[in-house]
């Protein structure tokens, strides 16, 4: 027989266990994501919400069961130590594994794949393509200019102020390339393909309002795309710890209507 003291402890721990579960599930179910400003952003939010809800429910069920067992078996120590059959133990072990497998597979195949296609799939013919280069500790943005072709770059020609991307003036395609520091200017409601490079270490091109996050590695060209749905200024950050100045590696994405964008682009001077 259990003493009144152990019964009291049992009740206390059961309540604390359930309370933690409820509080965490409630906290994560709240709308803490920033506003969505891209087409695929809604899909990314869908994946996040799906994962939060499915794992949150499992988490809550687990805590309720744990609280129940703590309270139930605080009555009688001998009953708590009694072994269950192998069959029952196997069922209790396999059930959560199957539940988690279902959660993850549905998440990947049903909820995730369409969003993946929006981010990495083929771009429409009228998409604009820009290049963004990460370097310690800033973002450089390149537009192809009137010829629509990105000119050659050479690391040997890189100079922080005179030629930050190392544009090769011998290549005619490089002569009209436009280079901007820290500001990505793009039109609203149009697919924007971003080719990403790095001059030094790993950086991560991150626009939280677009739900865009893409690592960029030295020696590779990574690619991501998005369709901005709102005009305005949005934070561009680096989400990969890239050195002492990482926290200051900020820029902005300026989204404007197509007419203003074309006007802005026509006013930009080529770098070379």
């Amino acid at each position: 027989m259990a003493s009144g003291k152990s019964r009291g402890f049992g009740l206390f721990f059961a309540i604390v266990t359930v309370a933690i579960g409820v509080a965490v599930a409630w906290g994560f179910s709240r709308g803490w994501l920033p506003e969505v400003a891209s087409e695929h952003g809604k899909g990314v939010d869908g994946v996040i919400h799906y994962l939060m809800w499915s794992t949150g429910v499992l988490f809550l069920v687990g805590h309720l069961a744990l609280g129940y067992f703590i309270f139930k078996y605080s009555k009688d120590q001998a009953q708590a130590n009694a072994a269950v059959s192998h069959r029952t133990e196997a069922k209790a072990a396999i059930a959560p594994v199957l539940a988690m497998m279902a959660v993850s597979e549905i998440g990947v195949l049903v909820v995730g794949l369409p969003v993946f296609d929006e981010i990495y799939g083929e771009a429409p013919a009228d998409a604009i393509t820009i290049e963004v280069v990460g370097k310690q500790f800033e973002w450089l943005v390149r537009y192809a200019g009137p010829d629509g072709v990105f000119g050659k770059v050479d690391p040997k020609l890189v100079h922080d102020s005179r030629n930050p991307l190392g544009l090769d003036k011998k290549d005619p395609a490089a002569k009209d390339d436009i280079v901007k520091r820290g500001v990505v200017t793009i039109p609203v409601d149009k697919t924007c393909v971003v080719n990403l490079r790095s001059h030094d270490v790993i950086h991560s091109f991150t626009v939280p309002f677009f739900r865009t996050k893409q690592d960029t590695l030295p020696g590779f060209t990574a690619r991501t795309k998005f369709v901005p749905t709102k005009e305005g200024q949005f934070e561009l950050a680096c989400a990969e710890l890239c050195g002492l100045g990482h926290y200051r590696m900020q820029g902005k994405v300026v989204v404007m209507n197509n007419e203003d964008y074309e006007k802005w682009l026509s006013e930009q001077e080529s770098w070379l």
Binding site: H159, P164, V179, K180, G182
Partner: protein
Amino acid sequence: MQRLSLFSVLLLTVGIVSCGSGDGESQASANDSANNAGGGGGSEPAAEAPKAEAQPWDASKGTASVTGTIKFEGDPPKVRKVDMGSDEHCQEMNAEGVMDEGAIIAADGGLQNVFVYVQKGLSDWTFTAPSETASLSQEGCTYKPHVLGVQVGQTLIIENADAVTHNIHSFGKKNKTFNQTQGKGGADLEVVFKKTEVFIPVKCDIHGWMNTYIGVVDNPFYAISAADGSFDLGKLPAGTYTIAARHEGFGLQKQEITIGDGESKSIAFSFSE
């Protein structure tokens, strides 16, 4: 329990060692990147060592004048306004815009901001560092001056006169590097270079367009070319010298001259892309 503690200590030690080596790697990578970025960065032998019988420098022996001009030949590179778009505070401070100082070329080809110094020929003398400090200021999100000369052992004061935070980062190969954040109204930084090195590229890690080049030499006979490309190395003793001129983007040139007491000589350097 004891085993667990021992294991934890070992794990912590491995962690600290890994973190340390990781930092070193990133430093090396940053240096490499800066050497590429610097263009005119990287060091040259700045001067030869004084002879064993060298005497302390006597200014009364300096009777010969060496002056000159530096020209740029060929089509001058495009000079553009500095793009400060990534920091609106810097933009506000420069509403009219600031021109890039990487290649300032006068209408007649005079090339500014070339560091000219005596590289060889002064081994009969030893020089002490001047007591006056040199200064480098971060103003309007640019470095003033853009090219700077100091003597070995001379104190360089670096101030942040801006209302924004800067991070001054040097990429010297022979001298100890510094990498220091200076906030608004932050304390001045004092730096003393112990070895000759031309150039030490310096940049701001927050504002990628900000860079400056420091020439560290062991004698007072150096100059930075003016807007018309002229320079004056001051009063040298009679002798044969190697005069070096270094531009951050157009590289290094040297000339040998022989000059007698009381003579004046003018030399000309010509750079191109």
